[in-house]
Symmetry: C2
Subunit: 452 residues, 2 copies
């Protein structure tokens, strides 16, 4: 079905009949994301309302390009017809110079509001606000309110709630449209009001806002400033996007790259390298310490080459257990399940986990060497001691990896860093370097007088 | 503020005045999640409507416990007052025996519907459906529809849309409440209808449903079956939860554990071990191949101990570049940005990325050895050859890590596995083992006749 839509659109374009009303705006947007070369032509030939809708679903990069290539009367029309939150999303991607130029296309009042929106920090609720809501006074009747909705409803994205404000524009209450429809037409809003409402603050972090939505089961929330003045509303569909973006960022950071600004396929090649190379280099330099640690134990290595065989096995076990622990803790912190105050409860659990997991791997490692030695002479006459060295080292290194993995994110967060950015790389490097030290110290203690 | 609420609730409890009407249900739920010991008392003393709301915000584990400990008349009351989707969420967590027992509390019609909901696969849209919607016929006038909303609105969670069905309950169109409010009261719904609608299929995957919501900017979508019969609606707040859960699962799997069923802090200790130990053991057994690979090159190691010093550095660089690539690709696939068909475009990009990133690390590694050799004799007289060996190995191993990391998730998905589960561990093991082989092969070629 998707293919035939595409063919249909291509057909319309080929025969120069700019007639797209048979297609949904999402279908057109899907098509244009795949065939950006037609985007200008299609957008120019849509009615403003549908052009804006289509534009909204295009990749931001393509939106930006179009804004620069479309004739300026068309751009003015588009920008004026966009909802505030979509306009802000688009404008905040442009350079401040293009923004200034574009904002000039807006009617005076819109211009002020758009610029005000752009004044809020990048990840704040202010950037998601939509000033298209219906405000009423508490002396209004239900009928008054319904009349106002009838008058303004068409231009407004979300009318689930209307908002009662006082004479200073301070938010007094939110009224569910449902309540309004059920109530008798001559009821005063003051009678419906319980003066309890949940609101977001304009400088709240967007990530925290998602959890307010989740906790309160709301599809739309009002936004207020320090004085309780109602500034706008935020709708839950923006939250779905925010949450997906935040999770993508966290995942990418945990995978050891900087977060990409755009989808993988749309990221330019050198941009991709710029996001990946720095952490790879930092890790590499950190890992150079392993070479130094090994150099320190060069005599032991020369005497007992057998020990070398297990180095990758041992350090990767430390890394894996550290990565498990840090992943669990970073995600739990992102979801607000764990705070700094919980560090001791987490530490107790993770020490215990590390001991159990380390014992399991230690025993498997020990048995592997013992059993292998019964069929091959490769581990020499002191194979039991070698097995013990490997087994005991595994116990300690898994314990250490688990402990570092669980505590570092908590410490980093406390110090004001993003735990997702920094933990995985730090944990890996820390555990590798210290793991080698643990291994050779255990070996020195157990093998002195035999192999060493 | 939060603390004082808590103290207030504790005060109410202490003085045995079971009077909670001053508190919002979310406040009570927050409190009970922290003080589960009071949950039975509080729930028993709330009016049914508020008890259900509070119950809904409790941890599922606590919900389950309460269902088993509350007197059965209270349970019957709660279950009957719950919305369908919340009821399904709760019941699907219980054993089938308790479900059967609990479903008996429901009135006959509800009982059938609940059991029908439970018949849909765990991750399907059917499990999120809410059969509380307003259906109308296309010969209704706007006034008829508004009257129906007035009559039924109070019991219904979401009335953003009403649905026109035909005589066979087949969905014909969805009408936005906004349209209805704006239209003249005697307009027939058939005049408002454009017969275009977007619907989810009852067996659709929940994860796909989130992207339908995102793409179409909707807060509620109807659910239909194979015959186009309207079965229920799904609201976007459930999508926010689904997406967060899916992302948590992916993150945990990518971190090398099985996904936890409950928040970290609520997961029992042995449950936690059971989720972590299997992958740790599988990885450990995979990594044992490194010991075998190293044993194969034992002669080379004994002759040139110097080579050993760089083993951790080299294999960790392969692992890090592999982890970067697999993270980027897994997330892009989860977001639907990359499909199997894109494998060749991805491969081209990643080969190029691997070459660039590998060259960067290779050059740093080479320079490190050359510069260090000018102040210390540790790398011996053939330090330039050693530097070249390490540098060239780094180039190849980063290229290899990047390639494995990017291609494995795509291949695994094609084979029907979850790319998030399996990639990170596979990539790590694969790159470590083959990395050692690359290292020693490069060393044999470059150092034959000098060190080897």
């Amino acid at each position: 079905m998707e293919i035939s839509k595409e063919e249909l659109i291509l057909d319309v374009l080929k025969h120069e009949k700019p007639y797209f009303s048979d297609f949904r705006t999402t279908e057109l947007a899907d098509f244009l994301n795949d065939y950006p070369e037609y985007s200008q032509k299609v957008i120019e030939n849509l009615e403003p309302h549908r052009a804006v809708k289509t534009l909204k679903f295009l990749d931001l990069k393509l939106q930006k390009k179009l804004i620069h290539t479309l004739p300026s009367n068309k751009v003015a029309e588009l920008i004026q017809n966009m909802h505030f939150d979509d306009r802000t999303a688009l404008l905040s991607e442009l350079t401040s110079e293009s923004v200034k130029k574009l904002v000039l296309f807006l009617p005076h009042e819109d211009r002020l509001e758009t610029l005000a929106l752009l004044g809020y920090p990048e990840d704040s609720v202010g950037r998601l606000m939509n000033p298209d809501y219906i405000e009423v006074k508490d002396h209004f009747t239900v009928q008054d309110a319904l009349n106002k909705i009838r008058k303004l409803g068409r231009t407004i994205e979300n009318i689930n709630f209307i908002y009662i404000i006082d004479d200073h524009e301070k938010l007094i209450d939110d009224i569910n449209l449902k309540e309004l429809l059920i109530a008798a037409p001559d009821t005063r809003l003051s009678e419906l009001s319980d003066k309890k409402y949940i609101a977001l603050h304009v400088t709240d972090d967007q990530e925290n806002a998602t959890s307010v939505f989740r906790k309160n089961n709301r599809a739309v929330l009002p936004v207020i400033d320090d004085d309780g003045i109602l500034l706008g509303i935020v709708t839950i569909d923006d939250m779905l996007r925010v949450q997906s973006e935040e999770d993508t960022e966290d995942i990418q950071k945990m995978g050891g790259t900087e977060a990409l600004d755009e989808p993988y396929m749309n990221t330019a090649f050198f941009e991709l390298i710029k996001k990946r190379a720095p952490w790879l280099i930092i890790l590499f330099i950190g890992e150079m310490l392993t070479a130094s640690a090994m150099a320190f134990f060069e005599d032991e290595i020369a005497k007992a080459v057998i020990l070398v065989l297990f180095i990758p096995l041992i350090i990767s076990s430390g890394g894996n257990s550290g990565s498990q622990a840090s992943t669990l803790i970073i995600r739990a912190m992102a979801l607000g399940e764990i705070n700094f105050e919980d560090w001791w409860r987490v530490m107790k659990r993770e020490i215990l986990s590390g001991l159990v997991l380390g014992s399991i791997l230690g025993i498997i490692g020990f048995l592997r060497i013992i059993i292998w030695s019964s069929i091959s002479p490769i581990y020499g006459e002191h194979y039991i001691l070698v097995g013990l060295t490997v087994g005991i080292t595994l116990l300690f290194i898994v314990l250490w990896g688990t402990l570092c993995g669980s505590m570092l994110p908590i410490i980093l967060k406390k110090l004001g860093f993003d735990p997702a950015t920094s933990s995985a790389p730090f944990v890996a490097t820390l555990v590798d370097v210290t793991g080698l030290v643990i291994y050779f110290v255990v070996a020195s203690l157990l093998l002195r007088g035999t192999l060493l």
